[in-house]
Protein backbone atom coordinates (compact mmCIF):
# COMPACT_ATOMS: atom_id res chain seq x y z
CA UNK A 1 0.00 0.00 0.00
CA UNK A 2 1.04 3.57 -0.54
CA UNK A 3 2.23 5.64 2.39
CA UNK A 4 3.54 9.15 2.76
CA UNK A 5 6.03 10.21 5.40
CA UNK A 6 6.44 13.77 6.54
CA UNK A 7 8.63 15.04 9.35
CA UNK A 8 9.00 16.56 11.82
CA UNK A 9 5.52 16.78 13.30
CA UNK A 10 6.20 20.06 15.09
CA UNK A 11 8.92 22.65 14.74
CA UNK A 12 9.75 25.95 16.43
CA UNK A 13 12.24 28.08 14.54
CA UNK A 14 13.56 31.64 15.01
CA UNK A 15 12.88 34.40 12.50
CA UNK A 16 15.58 34.59 9.85
CA UNK A 17 16.67 30.98 10.15
CA UNK A 18 16.63 28.55 7.21
CA UNK A 19 14.34 25.55 7.13
CA UNK A 20 13.83 22.37 5.15
CA UNK A 21 10.82 20.08 5.38
CA UNK A 22 11.04 16.66 3.80
CA UNK A 23 8.43 14.31 2.46
CA UNK A 24 8.85 10.81 1.07
CA UNK A 25 6.36 8.49 -0.55
CA UNK A 26 6.38 4.70 -0.58
CA UNK A 27 4.48 2.21 -2.66
CA UNK A 28 4.12 4.17 -5.86
CA UNK A 29 6.23 5.34 -8.77
CA UNK A 30 6.36 8.72 -10.44
CA UNK A 31 3.67 10.28 -8.27
CA UNK A 32 2.58 13.88 -8.56
CA UNK A 33 3.75 15.55 -5.36
CA UNK A 34 2.47 18.68 -3.64
CA UNK A 35 3.22 21.02 -0.78
CA UNK A 36 0.28 22.76 0.87
CA UNK A 37 0.11 25.24 3.73
CA UNK A 38 -2.72 26.02 6.07
CA UNK A 39 -2.25 29.34 7.83
CA UNK A 40 -4.40 30.29 10.81
CA UNK A 41 -7.97 31.05 9.73
CA UNK A 42 -7.30 30.15 6.13
CA UNK A 43 -7.86 27.16 3.93
CA UNK A 44 -5.29 24.87 2.42
CA UNK A 45 -3.14 26.71 -0.07
CA UNK A 46 -1.13 24.96 -2.78
CA UNK A 47 2.50 26.09 -2.68
CA UNK A 48 4.31 23.80 -5.12
CA UNK A 49 3.63 20.76 -7.23
CA UNK A 50 5.90 18.40 -9.09
CA UNK A 51 5.16 15.93 -11.86
CA UNK A 52 8.64 14.42 -11.93
CA UNK A 53 12.24 14.61 -10.75
CA UNK A 54 13.53 18.16 -11.03
CA UNK A 55 10.17 19.46 -12.28
CA UNK A 56 8.73 22.01 -9.89
CA UNK A 57 5.85 24.41 -10.43
CA UNK A 58 5.25 27.26 -8.02
CA UNK A 59 1.78 28.48 -7.24
CA UNK A 60 2.72 31.40 -5.01
CA UNK A 61 5.51 33.98 -5.03
CA UNK A 62 7.12 33.49 -1.64
CA UNK A 63 10.49 33.37 0.06
CA UNK A 64 10.58 29.63 -0.33
CA UNK A 65 11.49 26.95 -2.82
CA UNK A 66 10.95 23.27 -3.44
CA UNK A 67 13.07 20.50 -4.87
CA UNK A 68 12.54 16.93 -5.98
CA UNK A 69 15.92 15.23 -5.97
CA UNK A 70 14.44 11.73 -6.20
CA UNK A 71 11.24 10.31 -7.61
CA UNK A 72 9.60 9.88 -4.23
CA UNK A 73 11.18 12.71 -2.29
CA UNK A 74 9.90 16.27 -2.11
CA UNK A 75 11.61 19.01 -0.10
CA UNK A 76 10.30 22.43 0.90
CA UNK A 77 12.93 25.01 1.82
CA UNK A 78 13.03 28.48 3.33
CA UNK A 79 16.17 30.61 3.18
CA UNK A 80 15.00 33.00 5.91
CA UNK A 81 11.86 32.41 7.90
CA UNK A 82 9.35 35.16 8.56
CA UNK A 83 6.80 35.25 11.36
CA UNK A 84 4.08 34.94 8.71
CA UNK A 85 5.51 31.58 7.61
CA UNK A 86 4.01 29.95 10.69
CA UNK A 87 1.38 27.41 9.79
CA UNK A 88 0.59 23.79 9.14
CA UNK A 89 2.46 22.32 6.17
CA UNK A 90 1.19 19.31 4.34
CA UNK A 91 2.82 17.12 1.72
CA UNK A 92 0.55 15.21 -0.61
CA UNK A 93 0.65 12.94 -3.59
CA UNK A 94 -2.02 12.22 -6.14
CA UNK A 95 -2.97 9.60 -8.64
CA UNK A 96 -5.98 9.86 -10.91
CA UNK A 97 -8.91 10.87 -8.74
CA UNK A 98 -7.48 10.81 -5.25
CA UNK A 99 -4.94 12.77 -3.27
CA UNK A 100 -3.27 11.50 -0.13
CA UNK A 101 -1.80 13.70 2.56
CA UNK A 102 0.97 13.32 5.09
CA UNK A 103 0.41 13.97 8.77
CA UNK A 104 1.67 17.51 8.47
CA UNK A 105 4.26 19.70 10.18
CA UNK A 106 3.20 22.43 12.59
CA UNK A 107 5.72 25.25 12.14
CA UNK A 108 5.90 28.10 14.62
CA UNK A 109 8.26 30.94 13.81
CA UNK A 110 9.29 32.94 16.87
Amino acid sequence: SQTIHQWPATLVQPVGSPLSLECTVEGTSNPNLYWYRQAAGRGLQLLFYSVGIGQISSEVPQNLSASRPQDRQFILSYKKLLLSDSGFYLCAWSVMTEAFFGQGTRLTVV
Binding site: R42, L44, S94, A99, G104
Partner: protein, 113 residues
Protein backbone atom coordinates in the same frame (compact mmCIF):
# COMPACT_ATOMS: atom_id res chain seq x y z
CA UNK B 1 -9.97 35.78 -5.18
CA UNK B 2 -11.39 32.70 -3.53
CA UNK B 3 -12.49 30.22 -6.16
CA UNK B 4 -13.84 27.71 -3.67
CA UNK B 5 -15.91 29.12 -0.84
CA UNK B 6 -17.17 27.54 2.32
CA UNK B 7 -19.16 30.36 3.85
CA UNK B 8 -19.88 28.70 7.19
CA UNK B 9 -16.79 28.63 9.40
CA UNK B 10 -18.57 26.36 11.85
CA UNK B 11 -21.67 24.23 12.13
CA UNK B 12 -23.20 22.59 15.17
CA UNK B 13 -25.45 19.53 14.73
CA UNK B 14 -27.04 17.19 17.19
CA UNK B 15 -25.93 13.57 17.18
CA UNK B 16 -28.18 11.42 15.02
CA UNK B 17 -29.34 14.31 12.86
CA UNK B 18 -28.23 15.20 9.36
CA UNK B 19 -25.18 17.42 8.84
CA UNK B 20 -25.12 19.48 5.66
CA UNK B 21 -21.93 21.21 4.68
CA UNK B 22 -22.03 23.62 1.75
CA UNK B 23 -19.48 24.72 -0.80
CA UNK B 24 -19.70 27.20 -3.67
CA UNK B 25 -17.25 27.71 -6.49
CA UNK B 26 -16.70 30.36 -9.12
CA UNK B 27 -14.46 28.67 -11.69
CA UNK B 28 -16.63 26.97 -14.29
CA UNK B 29 -13.60 24.95 -15.42
CA UNK B 30 -13.65 22.87 -12.24
CA UNK B 31 -14.62 19.34 -13.21
CA UNK B 32 -13.83 17.29 -10.14
CA UNK B 33 -14.73 17.94 -6.52
CA UNK B 34 -13.58 16.31 -3.32
CA UNK B 35 -14.36 16.51 0.36
CA UNK B 36 -11.70 16.05 3.03
CA UNK B 37 -11.99 15.67 6.77
CA UNK B 38 -9.28 16.97 9.05
CA UNK B 39 -8.63 16.46 12.74
CA UNK B 40 -6.34 18.89 14.61
CA UNK B 41 -2.62 18.36 13.95
CA UNK B 42 -3.31 15.68 11.35
CA UNK B 43 -3.34 15.66 7.59
CA UNK B 44 -6.68 15.74 5.77
CA UNK B 45 -8.21 12.41 4.89
CA UNK B 46 -10.21 11.83 1.76
CA UNK B 47 -13.95 11.36 2.26
CA UNK B 48 -15.80 11.38 -1.01
CA UNK B 49 -15.57 12.88 -4.49
CA UNK B 50 -17.76 13.65 -7.46
CA UNK B 51 -17.11 14.24 -11.13
CA UNK B 52 -18.87 17.07 -12.90
CA UNK B 53 -20.72 14.56 -15.08
CA UNK B 54 -22.66 13.40 -12.04
CA UNK B 55 -24.99 15.17 -9.67
CA UNK B 56 -24.84 12.75 -6.76
CA UNK B 57 -22.40 10.32 -5.23
CA UNK B 58 -23.06 8.24 -2.16
CA UNK B 59 -20.74 6.30 0.13
CA UNK B 60 -22.21 4.95 3.33
CA UNK B 61 -23.31 7.83 5.54
CA UNK B 62 -21.80 10.39 3.18
CA UNK B 63 -23.51 11.81 0.10
CA UNK B 64 -22.23 14.62 -2.07
CA UNK B 65 -24.57 16.59 -4.30
CA UNK B 66 -23.41 18.75 -7.19
CA UNK B 67 -25.49 21.51 -8.78
CA UNK B 68 -23.44 22.71 -11.74
CA UNK B 69 -25.83 25.46 -12.77
CA UNK B 70 -25.62 26.98 -9.29
CA UNK B 71 -21.91 26.13 -8.92
CA UNK B 72 -22.75 24.59 -5.59
CA UNK B 73 -22.04 21.32 -3.88
CA UNK B 74 -22.97 19.95 -0.52
CA UNK B 75 -21.92 17.11 1.72
CA UNK B 76 -24.60 15.31 3.69
CA UNK B 77 -23.73 13.14 6.67
CA UNK B 78 -26.55 10.95 7.89
CA UNK B 79 -26.75 10.16 10.74
CA UNK B 80 -24.15 12.41 12.36
CA UNK B 81 -21.88 10.76 14.90
CA UNK B 82 -19.52 12.22 17.54
CA UNK B 83 -16.49 11.07 15.53
CA UNK B 84 -17.64 13.27 12.66
CA UNK B 85 -16.57 16.36 14.63
CA UNK B 86 -13.74 17.77 12.53
CA UNK B 87 -12.96 20.41 9.94
CA UNK B 88 -14.29 19.60 6.49
CA UNK B 89 -12.63 20.96 3.39
CA UNK B 90 -14.20 21.22 -0.01
CA UNK B 91 -11.70 20.99 -2.88
CA UNK B 92 -11.92 21.33 -6.64
CA UNK B 93 -9.76 20.53 -9.63
CA UNK B 94 -9.72 21.52 -13.30
CA UNK B 95 -7.77 18.47 -14.36
CA UNK B 96 -10.37 15.76 -13.97
CA UNK B 97 -8.72 14.30 -10.91
CA UNK B 98 -6.95 15.27 -7.73
CA UNK B 99 -4.17 17.29 -9.33
CA UNK B 100 -3.54 20.76 -8.02
CA UNK B 101 -6.55 21.04 -5.79
CA UNK B 102 -8.04 24.38 -4.81
CA UNK B 103 -9.42 24.24 -1.30
CA UNK B 104 -12.05 26.16 0.57
CA UNK B 105 -11.29 27.54 4.05
CA UNK B 106 -13.06 24.69 5.75
CA UNK B 107 -16.09 24.28 7.98
CA UNK B 108 -15.70 23.14 11.56
CA UNK B 109 -18.44 20.60 12.24
CA UNK B 110 -19.32 20.04 15.87
CA UNK B 111 -21.55 17.10 16.72
CA UNK B 112 -23.35 17.62 20.01
CA UNK B 113 -24.49 14.69 22.15
Amino acid sequence: DQQVKQNSPSLSVQEGRISILNCDYTNSMFDYFLWYKKYPAEGPTFLISISSIKDKNEDGRFTVFLNKSAKHLSLHIVPSQPGDSAVYFCAASTRGGADGLTFGKGTHLIIQP
